[in-house]
């Protein structure tokens, strides 16, 4: 019993990272994802890194099962129950448009057709007090329909259930009585205790839509472990960046929706800890997309809500900003201008250099023309590179905009880098922080190729390429904490604040959080609970989450002026101004239970040296530089750019003027000259 295994199941490949507690070594491997039966791929990938599954002490994974069901519109058939007079709320979808100059605008395609929405009687007021009792007969009618027509799941969202869930709970009881355990029942307040009926309905619908699929998958994984006589606790990554066990994930499957990509951000959190840095920009650049996320003050940047495929979800979710600028972004001319992205060549035909019939140049083709991609190492050696096709595609565009091909190729990369850098800067604006205070952690297939250039644009002086950049998300999962988020709506203007009452609520939440961690198998000495309160100035909408020192803090004397001052400080940090004399209001109490497992210790194999690295011509700033192509495993001591560092899953470009060194954790650190 000595292996700790993490797995990131992507669309095409499954990445797996295994830490051997006995030897302190880490290995990574890749296996094909098996979309028809993900559990099959899980065990195939395990076999790559562990000889005997009986040696697995701990297993965590990120699964895209729920997200795939959403993307492919293959989720469950859901019956939605809404309050009387509010049956169209889900389809009105707040009536907004997110593209302004479009006469033919379409709202996001609803996951439940209108004819599958039923209204049920009953009404609460804004405090949660009953105005009209729940019409139980209408709930039973709905249950009968769900049974007769074979719905997989029933979602219930009643007005003001966030204030008092009594009606939803009773409706849930009736549905359970009528439908038994086969049909999934989702009550909106259990998905989120936040106000706004459309967003809560959408969250409940999404949980009902993806939940049955995720549940089946988790049951299958556990069944196969059991078949082998193993009782490995299976953990799942949540969108919040925290782990939960499979039992909880089955109860709240929505929380695992963005399970995979979030691993990279948690890898960033772990990297920040190992590097002794507070702030890190995480850049995950793959073939078609570019995801950016932030670690601020050692914590992942987590929002209380997000939009997925146009559908709002109210749940803690790591902010991942996807920008249409990956290796596959197309470059083209328009009215004499050069443009790069957001349109992508996708996987088919893909960049011209894939040799699959693509003729329009992409960012990857530009890198090929500049000599920054080593054909022998491209895509882990899994794909033959068509260098000539890249050259033809780049030359054609160069001709169109009146540049020589090398200048154009460098220009395409420069525009893509500038766009990525600008997108990162906008993210930091929202946090009131400056990018130059950050380190940039780059991973994914193409991240390390562009990282130094993006860093220069941002004034960032340090780029970090982790070990196994292609499997960094899996590594991040290995390093993550168990996390349970609890919230309690607590709308109070400051003159109505009762500190003792608030402290009492927090004490209850703390007890609940500790119980939740115990249920997750976290040993007592490794459980902790953090408390925070969402606040704003009276009349504002957006809130700031202000951490508390302890659950009992609100009961103390001087709490109001103290918390108001902290709020004003946070407000200044975020918005550049504050109004200390203005009244504040409290909106939501948040308690987060965190449980840590023993971390993988850094074990770095000794460099084995390389006698004579290959040297090739690479273009930097318009000139060819004789550039050594080094194997990462062979790196020893400091390295001066230009250099190309290759490994299984990634290529790192170190431009002239930059220095690189491998640190004690095995990170490749690139010092970027400004």
């Amino acid at each position: 019993m000595s292996y700790r295994v993490a797995m990131d199941i992507g669309g095409t490949f499954t990445d797996v990272v295994c830490y051997d507690e006995k030897t302190g070594t880490v290995v990574a491997a890749k296996a094909s994802t098996t979309p028809h039966d993900l559990a099959e791929g899980v065990f195939a990938a395990l076999a790559r890194v562990v000889e005997d599954p009986a040696d697995i002490a701990y297993f965590v994974h990120g699964t895209t099962q729920g997200l795939n069901a959403l993307l492919e519109r293959k989720g469950a058939r859901v019956l939605l129950l809404a309050g009387a007079g509010a049956g169209d709320v889900y389809h009105i979808a707040r009536g907004n448009r997110d593209r302004m100059f479009d006469l033919r605008y379409r709202k996001p395609e609803p996951l439940v057709p209108r004819e599958d929405v039923m209204e049920i009687g009953g009404r609460l007021d804004w405090r949660g007090h009953e105005l009209v009792p729940l019409d139980e007969r209408s709930v039973r009618r709905a249950a009968r329909r769900a049974r007769d027509e074979g719905f997989d799941a029933v979602a219930v969202c009643l007005l003001f259930a966030h204030a008092d869930p009594a009606h939803e709970l009773r409706a849930g009881e009736i549905l359970r009585e009528e439908l038994g355990d086969e049909v999934m029942i989702v009550l909106s307040h259990q998905v989120s205790r936040e106000w706004r009926e459309y967003e809560r309905t959408s969250s409940a619908v999404l949980e009902a839509y993806t939940g049955p699929v995720v549940r089946r998958y988790l049951a299958e994984v556990e069944r196969r472990f059991a078949e082998r006589g193993l009782t490995v606790p299976v953990h799942v990554m949540q969108s919040s960046g925290g782990l939960v066990n499979a039992a909880y994930a089955r109860r709240r499957p929505l929380r695992t929706l963005l399970s995979g990509p979030v691993g990279g951000t948690m890898g960033g959190v772990a990297a920040a800890r190992l590097l002794g840095r507070r702030n890190v920009i995480c850049v995950d650049m793959g073939g078609t997309s570019f995801d950016v996320s932030l670690v601020v003050d050692g914590r992942p940047d987590v929002s209380a809500e997000a939009r997925i495929e146009g559908h709002p979800v109210l749940m803690p979710i790591v902010n991942l900003h996807t920008i249409g600028a990956g290796g596959g972004s197309l470059a083209y001319a328009e009215a004499g201008a050069l443009r790069v992205g957001p349109e992508s060549a996708g996987a088919v035909p893909g960049p011209a250099c894939y040799g699959r019939g693509g003729t329009r140049p992409t960012v990857t083709d530009a890198n090929v023309v500049l000599g920054r991609v080593d054909p022998a190492w491209f895509a882990g050696g899994l794909m033959d590179l068509d260098v000539d096709a890249a050259g033809v595609a780049v030359a054609a565009l160069a001709d169109e905009v009146g540049l020589d091909p090398l200048s154009l190729a460098e220009g395409v990369c420069a525009v893509a880098n500038a766009k990525m850098a600008q997108a990162i800067r906008t993210l930091t604006v929202e946090h009131g922080v400056e990018p130059r205070d950050f380190a940039l952690v780059a991973f994914g297939g193409a991240g390390a190729m562009h990282a130094a250039f993006i860093a220069r644009e941002l004034g960032v002086s340090e780029v970090v390429i982790p070990r196994f950049p292609g499997a960094f998300s899996a590594w991040g999962m290995l390093e993550a904490d168990v996390r349970r988020d609890l919230t309690h709506p607590y709308f109070r203007q400051q003159d109505a604040l009762d500190g003792a009452d608030m402290a009492g609520r927090f004490a209850a939440l703390a007890a609940e959080a500790l119980d939740a961690l115990a249920e997750q198998g976290v040993p007592a000495d490794r459980r902790r609970v953090e408390h925070a309160v969402d606040m704003r100035y009276e009349g504002q909408d957006y809130t700031l989450t202000i951490p508390l020192r302890a659950a009992g803090e609100p009961a103390g004397p001087g709490f109001l002026p103290e918390i108001s001052a902290r709020f004003a400080e946070a407000h200044t940090g975020r918005y550049g101004h504050a109004t200390p004399e203005a009244a504040v209001e409290f909106v939501m109490l948040r308690s987060t239970g965190l449980g840590s497992f023993p971390r993988a210790a850094a074990g770095v194999p000794a460099a084995h040296g390389e006698a004579a690295p290959a040297v090739r011509d690479v273009i930097f700033d318009g000139a060819a530089h004789a550039t050594p192509v080094l194997r990462r495993a062979a790196l020893d001591g400091e390295l001066t750019g230009p250099a190309i560092v290759v490994e299984e899953t990634a290529t790192t470009v170190i431009p002239p003027g930059c220095l690189a060194v491998v640190d004690d954790n095995g990170f490749l650190i690139v010092k970027v000259d400004q």
């Binding site: 007079g85 790069v340 460098e410 203007q493 550049g576």
Partner: protein, 545 residues
């Protein structure tokens, strides 16, 4: 001659700078009309007031923020700009909109030289009009609140106390209003910082060369798009219901578009004289509305900057409703602008069938009520715009329950938020079935939103497009007009569309029904049923089925 790589990098940086300004404004504003309604816009301008980058919450703020710095310079001369100064303006006849729209702007210096301007416009919840939040029956600008500018709000980076005190003493919600002013100032400062960074990286000369090239690229793209249209004169006309005072007199709006080669001229002179009621706007806003129609049809994908709209000229008639002079009332300056946008689309429909859609339900559909909340003893104003049906096109049904063109990306007010903030209940919020116009492709349906008031309130309504409901195209039928009923089925049942400060009692019920969109193509195979009850959602039905 600047190379296309640097040009594109600088262009992206300018666009992103405007986005950063917008992010700063929205995230730091105090009032829902800005952070929720996005009733705001920002622009980064060059030294000659041309747009370098713009981000707009509302389409009708498209490309007209520059009038503020331009007018300031006209009045006070080119030497008026000082580093650290920030100006403010809300004059309807300059900015074109109502007094609630306050533009805050300041010069940007690079190396001691004037390099450009940053501007942010935002809707202030109250500017001291005779009724809270703005009147629906004002008959002169002097009833509509504090009229300012161009005046300095900051000097040398420090707020000018006198002006702030004037504002605080003249508006109903000084705390929120001054908070929004500060948000706008932060936004302007962000623009100043970004442009300074761009210039210090590339040098002013390079940035100016890139600017010229960017503008030229945009102009080329727009001219090519117009050149693709057949030369000719295209017309459309409609009526605004009334001016809110004289409810029996519709007001005509006519659009004549002349396409000639690669330029386009839009004549708006044939419209009603400036009205007594608050339906007038400054010429700047009529121009902006035409630009929205132009952008919807001609230049949708073309980046917006100082090269935009160069092939477009708009002619207005001073003293008309679309180019009003003092002291015309301007509070509801936008009702005819929504109509105007739809008319531009209608006029060009015969030559652009692949881009147009039938008319939408109109604009505004405002429900506003105010009073003192018995739960807190505090005064409040609630103002909502209501969603409705959009027009169908060749190949698609119109969308149902969607916010109008003029209100941009506005989201409706959640029932749970509305009832928590104000003493009211929303008893129904549902699709108004059958309200979309019949046609081979159906117009989208409007909405039914029903309120029950829990306290005595003062109610104001602004529902439009009953005289010219959403028309169909190519033989499609018009959508249903709006309908608003106070106490439906009760003793005091009353049909209304526009009212101002009507006293309403606790327990009274208000049912608002917005119009549907127009249909497209003859409805022969697509009968419309007026019967209530759900019909299959439009987009799942087969055409002609």
């Amino acid at each position: 001659m600047i190379d296309p790589v640097r040009t594109e990098i600088i262009r992206c940086a300018l666009v992103q700078a405007a986005e950063d300004m917008n992010t700063t404004l929205i995230r730091s504003s105090y009032t829902p009309v800005i952070y929720e309604g996005k009733d705001c816009a920002v622009a980064l301008l060059d030294r000659d007031h041309n747009v370098l980058g713009q981000s707009s919450g509302l389409p009708i703020f498209l490309g007209n923020l520059e009038v503020c710095s331009r007018e300031t310079e006209l009045r006070h001369g080119p030497d008026v700009w000082r580093e650290g100064d920030i100006w403010l303006l809300n004059d309807s006849y300059i900015g074109g909109t109502h007094l609630n729209d306050v533009t805050v702007y300041g010069p940007i210096f690079a190396g001691g030289e004037l390099a450009g301007f940053a501007a942010s416009r935002a809707h202030w919840i109250d500017v001291g009009s005779k009724d809270p939040g703005g009147s629906m029956d004002s008959t002169s600008i002097f009833q509509e609140g504090l009229r300012l500018g161009p005046v300095k709000a900051y000097e040398g980076g420090r707020p000018l106390r006198d002006l702030h005190e004037v504002i605080a003493a003249n508006v109903r919600f000084p705390h929120a209003t001054l908070g929004d002013l500060r948000a706008q100032v932060s936004c302007v400062m962000m623009g100043q910082r970004r442009l300074t960074e761009i210039i210090s990286r590339w040098g002013l000369e390079t940035v100016l060369a890139a600017r010229d090239e960017i503008f030229a690229q945009t102009e080329r793209m727009e001219r090519a798009a117009i050149a693709a249209l057949p030369d000719g004169v295209y017309q459309a006309g409609g009526h605004l219901d009334n001016d809110g005072i004289d409810l029996g007199t519709p007001l005509p709006v006519n659009v004549t578009i002349t396409v000639s080669g690669e330029s386009m001229r839009v004549d708006l002179t044939d419209c009603a004289d400036q009205a007594l009621g608050p339906v007038n706007c400054g010429a700047a806003q009529a121009v902006a509305a035409v630009r929205v129609g132009y952008k919807l049809l001609v230049s949708g994908d073309v980046p917006l900057n100082g090269g935009s709209f160069r092939p477009l000229t708009v002619e207005t008639r001073p003293g008309s409703m679309l180019a009003a002079r003092s002291p015309a009332a301007c509070q509801y300056y936008y009702s005819h602008l929504g109509l105007l946008i739809d008319l531009v689309v209608k006029a060009l429909a015969p030559v652009m069938p692949d881009r147009v859609a039938a008319a939408s339900y109109g604009d505004s559909m405002i429900v506003q009520f105010c009073g003192t909340d018995p739960r807190t003893g505090k005064p409040y104003v609630s103002q909502e715009a209501t969603v409705g049906g959009w027009g169908a096109w060749d190949g698609g049904d119109g969308e149902t329950c969607l916010i109008n063109n003029v209100n941009g990306s506005l989201r409706d007010m959640p029932i749970e938020v509305l009832e928590t903030l104000f003493p009211v209940r929303v008893t129904r919020y549902e699709t108004r079935h059958g309200s979309g116009g019949a046609g081979r492709w159906r117009g989208g349906d409007g909405v039914v939103r029903e309120y029950e008031f829990c306290a005595d309130v003062s109610l104001s309504l602004w529902f439009e497009r009953s005289v010219t409901p959403a028309w169909g195209l190519a033989g499609g039928e018009a959508g249903a007009p709006p309908r608003v009923i106070l106490n439906p089925g009760g003793a005091g049942e009353r049909h209304v569309l526009k009212v101002n400060a009507l006293p309403v009692r606790a327990g009274d019920v208000l049912r608002c029904e917005t119009g549907g969109g127009g249909g497209y193509g003859p409805p022969a195979h697509h009968p419309v049923s007026e019967a209530a009850g759900p019909i299959p959602s439009a987009r799942h039905r087969a055409p002609g089925g």
